[in-house]
Symmetry: C2
Subunit: 287 residues, 2 copies
């Protein structure tokens, strides 16, 4: 495994791989890897000749009052975790390397970004699309891997790839959870012991709501049930909880096939997200 910090190094590696007609799997991350990231890397390893994992805490996707400065970083730890799952290249650039100049061209993520996390994090998905477009162009991947935990992000990136014709395939993998159901997240390290004990209630609430919805097809009742469960069982403050169609993220109708039940909850100061994607036939991971 090789760690590269510059765009020039990465481009040389990519160009050589292309010359040899190798397929490239890209796993974009912000580092502080957990089993979710590693499952993406493992799948990328199975499906591609060269596996590139980017580790970059992207300042453009953090708001002014968010946790960019405190976001956990540990490249040495990440390196140790990435090697055994078969990552070939870690691309870990500095902010200056990724954004040396700024000609002011921006990407606006559109309607899909105005709800859910986008409503409480204005500009977040614009920043995500900016770095993702750059990583796509730098890595020229055959396939790029994203976790379903950021379901809205995946939906928006799918739209980017579709509407801007990026020559690659997006692969989405299911959420990896702790044994008690809490979705794995780099931000879980922020939780105190007490908060950590409450956090599984988020997923419990989602399951209750899904089951209620499948039974009675009543969105409001389902949402209320989950809200009650999560607010009762945690000291947390709900940011949002919504049931929408997936991947278009619109209000559900009679013809909706895939549903996204998604929530963001503040447990103490830590904002955690979780979701379930399901159809009337049951839970589904990939849409």
């Amino acid at each position: 495994m090789k760690i590269v910090n510059t765009i020039a190094q990465l481009k040389t590696i990519v160009q050589n791989a292309k010359k040899e007609a190798k397929t490239i799997g890209l796993v974009p991350t912000m580092g502080y890897l957990h089993e979710g990231h590693l499952s993406l890397a493992g799948r990328a390893r199975e499906e591609n000749d060269l596996v590139i994992m980017s580790i970059f805490v992207n300042p453009k996707q953090f708001g002014p009052n968010e946790d960019f400065a405190s976001y956990p970083r540990n490249l040495e730890r990440d390196t140790r975790l990435a090697e055994p799952v078969g990552v070939d290249i870690i691309f870990a650039p500095s902010v200056e390397e990724m954004y040396p100049e700024d000609g002011g061209i921006t990407i606006r993520a559109g309607r899909q970004s105005e709800i859910l996390c986008g409503a409480s994090r204005p500009g977040h998905f614009d920043g995500v699309l900016q770095v993702v477009a750059k990583l796509f162009n730098l890595s020229e991947p055959t396939r790029a891997y994203f976790g379903q935990k950021d379901a809205q992000q995946v939906a928006i990136i799918q739209t980017l790839v579709r509407d801007y014709n990026f020559p690659l395939e997006i692969r989405t993998l299911p959420i990896v959870r702790e044994v008690d159901g809490l979705a794995k997240s780099s931000r879980n390290v922020y939780l105190t012991e007490q908060e950590r004990a409450m956090a599984p209630s988020i997923y419990e609430g989602l399951i209750e709501a899904k089951e209620e919805f499948l039974l009675n097809k009543n969105v409001r009742a389902a949402i209320e049930l989950a809200t009650k469960h999560i607010t009762n069982k945690t000291s947390g403050k709900m940011d949002y909880i919504e049931l929408l169609s997936y991947p278009d993220l619109k209000e559900i109708t009679e013809t909706t096939e895939h549903f996204l039940l998604a929530t963001a909850v503040y447990i103490g100061k830590t904002r955690l997200i979780d979701n379930i994607i399901f159809s009337l036939k049951g839970e589904t991971a990939n849409v």
Copy 2:
């Protein structure tokens, strides 16, 4: 030479070329070809294994009161002109083929787009960047060719390629002119005989201004001279005339090395643009 109308056909051609490690030259046009376009195609032929010319009148870069509907189109004529200069593939998609769905993701062109043509054509360069990003992703070119006549467009596209790391090189070629100096343009067909006779005054005015500026380094005097020349010699209405640094398109300073002297003039109902790029040492084509 092959004419393809669908994205699927184009992608097959591009994928096959990539498999054979062929270099690809892309010449994006809106068709109704003139010698300017053909010089781009000729250069692309010299430098690449496969030459793709796109012919697409892009609705996204026209304002509601602009000439999208009346813009001249003649694919049969374009085909006849493109073949002898060595174009391999003409990609001529319909609007529905290029924009089948719209997830609402937009590109905003930033500061460089707020002046010159951007000031009188709001959204124009956003639409240009959208179609150019799509054409880059569809054609995966080694090199893409643009004419200096749209100097602001070239500058903005250079910024896109730099800031978003598109893996390709932009090549710019000089303006091709009629014998009397009028810049070749697909829109010249709009001119009446009388208007056509006046139109060379645009370039004459630019030359006067450039010479005045090189002599006295006085921006205002230079601009006034050109304005006077053009308004006296034509029945035209100036849209703008400006002298800026190139390619950053900022106010010129003591240290400016390359200058863009650019104008847009309405001759009758036809809006014509022209420019000169020069340094203190003389006229330059490529920056």
